[in-house]
């Protein structure tokens, strides 16, 4: 799950079927199956939100929204 990723992790999205409008927005922002990502930074203490670079675009996002994204 992408929501469990730690700072410095890299990988590829393997499965993601968006259900809510927010999840659809994630896909539009580049969270597509096959996309490569890297966790650039995470907030202190709670480690949430985090900054992900995906397709060369940096996005700040709460882990909650990444719950349904499977990664390898």
């Amino acid at each position: 799950m992408l929501s469990h990723a730690k700072k410095g992790d890299r990988g590829q999205i393997s499965k993601f079927q968006p259900k809510s409008p927010e999840e659809v927005r994630l896909v539009e922002l580049g969270f597509k199956v096959g996309a490569h990502y890297e966790i650039v930074e995470q907030a202190p203490f709670s480690k949430d939100p985090l900054v992900i670079e995906i397709n060369g675009v940096r996005i700040a996002v709460r882990r909650f929204l990444l719950n349904h994204i499977e990664v390898i």
Partner: protein, 613 residues
């Protein structure tokens, strides 16, 4: 023939407004964060680019399925809401440095009936990062013309205007692209982006380097604080010298007029009303310019979206997400655009909560009031290596932020319960702002400030002068001239309400026009004191000295506390009413802030009088 409508559509932050400005000669707000433009803006295409059509700038969006009010404005406009004109041509602005992100919207646009022309923007950045994009392949894949441009460097704009002309005169239907759901759309976008990218650019070095510190768990928050401290330090330290110059210049004019003109109403109007009023506000021009220089630089460099990331947790405690930070920070300039900017917040509840808090941010119209009182009552010596006046100014801004958090907490616990929608925001690449454009934007702010002083504040000053002068006191009556005037009588009526918070009679009088606009308080005090000044030589002396000599320090502190909360400035509440679509909520929050202002001033006055006695 009527002019054709041409709409600029694209992702947030892809440069639509920059292009709009260059093509129309306007200077609308351009900044490096998503969600700058939040309304439909129209203007004629410049003659130098062919004229004959009306350009329309729209809020940015990632697709035609809107998730926020600003995006809905764009999709409604394109779907041609009843009674609205549909554009004859869509210019789809794409950011060449992140092509794939933009193409999703392009596919949506190609499904509309309106012809599309692609403007491939930011070619200067793509080029310097080493990216090569095959424009012909892109045009072939999409089936529409593609023109590479740079909106800020003005590359390719003549080609673009020619393309606009030919697209309008001979509209072409675009080819049908094969996709039916989100996932096949994603695949197609990826395939197109891949096929026309010959060399991928390096990742932005600048962004990676700067983000290492700006987003850092420890340094990030420290940098945020240091930036704020620097700004308010600079507002005081750097502005002092030019302010002295302006002040002595205005004093000279007042003196000259007083001696050159015969005694009478006209001289009083000019010296007391106009110079006393408008002059006392113009003095603050240097501070306004310095404040805006910093804000505009940070906005254009790309810091704002980072600030929302850094502040997300703190905002969470009051039921907001980091998304609220961008509108709230723009409230440092003025609450009106700040309330409009909340349109980019997706959740209705979060948006409502943010706009209700916006009036508490320390807007630039509070600056003259704070600055006046600080200059009069806080010594300018060093404190922990900083100018003490700057420190107090910083504390007042922090006070505004704490007020936002405190009131946010109360509203979350009462009228707007619930949690914020989780943060999701694109962090744009950092860009070095063009010094020329930055300079123009700063000058525009200065011009706006002076224009306001020359029109609105001038008018209020004249009215103030009239109501503090008439009716004139008959010779045989006791008391001062001003007590006999309309304003004086009004002041006497409200004085009892304000006495417990330590406000004197002059403040009571000056607070009333202060509701029209905050900084008018200063010009009104200027007028009241100029008229009320007993002796001839005190006329034209500066307002700071007056205030310093006649007010108790606790009165000044109480007024500062009042100004943190007071729901002043009618324009703010008019916009709040319109955007919240609720008269009840708007009037409720107005009364609430008024009560808070009174209580805060009362507490500060009582405590500081007790300590100082």
């Amino acid at each position: 023939m009527t002019d054709s409508l041409v709409a600029l559509v694209g992702n947030p932050n892809c440069g639509k407004t920059a292009l709009f400005n260059t093509l129309t000669g306007l200077r609308n707000k351009v900044a490096n964060y998503p969600g700058v433009t939040v309304e439909v803006v129209k203007s004629e295409l410049s003659k130098s680019y062919g004229g004959n059509c009306v350009l329309i700038d729209l809020p940015g969006t990632y697709s035609l399925s809107p998730v926020s009010d600003d995006e809905a404005i764009t999709s409604d406009f394109l779907s041609g809401a009843p009674g609205q004109l549909k554009p004859q041509l869509i210019i789809n602005v794409l950011d060449a440095t992140q092509l794939e992100l933009g193409l999703g919207l392009t596919l949506d646009l190609l499904r509309l009936e309106t012809p599309v022309l692609v403007a491939l923007n930011m070619m200067d950045l793509a080029e310097s990062s080493g990216a090569v994009i095959n424009v012909d392949t892109l045009a072939r894949e999409l089936g529409v013309p593609v023109v590479p441009i740079s909106a800020t460097k003005k590359w390719g704009l003549n080609k673009l205007s020619n393309a606009i002309e030919s697209c309008i005169s001979t509209p072409q239907t675009s080819k049908v692209l094969d996709w039916n759901d989100l996932s096949s759309k994603g695949d197609l976008v990826h395939k197109i982006a891949l096929s026309c990218t010959e060399t991928k650019g390096r990742r932005s070095e600048l962004t990676a380097r700067v983000d290492k510190y700006v987003l850092h768990p420890v340094f990030g928050p420290l940098i945020l604080l240091a930036a704020l401290a620097l700004i308010f330090q600079a507002v005081f330290a750097w502005a002092a010298f030019p302010m002295d110059l302006i002040e002595s210049f205005i004093g000279k004019i007042a003196e000259l007029l007083s001696t050159a003109m015969p005694q009478g109403l006209l001289r009083d109007l000019l010296v007391d009303g106009i110079i006393g009023g408008v002059g006392s506000v113009i003095v603050f021009l240097p501070q306004i310019v310095i404040l805006f220089s910093f804000i505009l630089f940070l906005e254009d460099f790309g810091y704002m979206a980072r600030a929302s990331y850094l502040m997300d947790r703190i905002m969470g405690t009051v039921g907001l997400s980091g998304k609220a930070v961008i509108p709230l920070v723009s409230g440092l300039a003025c609450a009106v655009p700040s309330i409009l900017a909340t349109r980019s917040i997706p959740s209705k509840r979060d948006r409502l909560l943010t706009m209700m808090l916006a009036p508490l941010m320390t807007c630039s119209a509070r600056l003259p009031v704070y600055a006046l009182l600080i200059a009069a009552f806080i010594p300018a010596n060093q404190f922990l290596g900083m100018n003490r006046q700057g420190v107090v100014m910083l504390l007042l801004y922090v006070g505004g932020v704490l007020a936002v958090l405190g009131v946010g907490f109360v509203l979350k616990a009462t009228v707007l319960p619930g949690e914020a929608q989780p943060l999701l925001i694109e962090l744009p690449r950092y860009k070095w702002p063009s010094l020329k454009l930055l300079g123009i934007a700063i000058l525009d702010r200065a011009r706006m400030f002076l224009k306001r002083a020359g029109t609105f504040i001038l008018a209020v000053s004249i009215v103030m002068w009239a109501v503090t002068t008439f009716p004139r006191k008959p010779e045989d009556r006791a008391g001062t001239d001003i007590e006999y005037s309309i304003a004086g009588r009004l002041g006497t009526v409200i004085e009892p309400i304000l006495k417990p918070v330590g406000f004197n009679y002059e403040i009571s009088v000056a607070l009333i026009p202060g509701f029209a606009a905050r900084e008018v308080m200063v010009s009104a005090l200027g007028t009241v004191y100029a008229i009320g000044g007993e002796s001839e030589e005190s006329k034209g002396a500066n307002l700071t000295t007056f205030v310093q000599e006649t007010w108790a320090p606790s009165t000044a502190y109480a007024l500062l506390a009042w100004y943190i909360f007071s729901p002043q400035c009618l324009a703010t509440f008019a916009v709040l009413g319109r955007e919240s679509r609720s008269l009840r909520k708007t009037s409720g929050i107005f009364v609430f802030y008024l009560a808070l202002a009174w209580l805060a001033a009362f507490a500060v006055f009582t405590i500081s009088s007790w300590i100082l006695s």
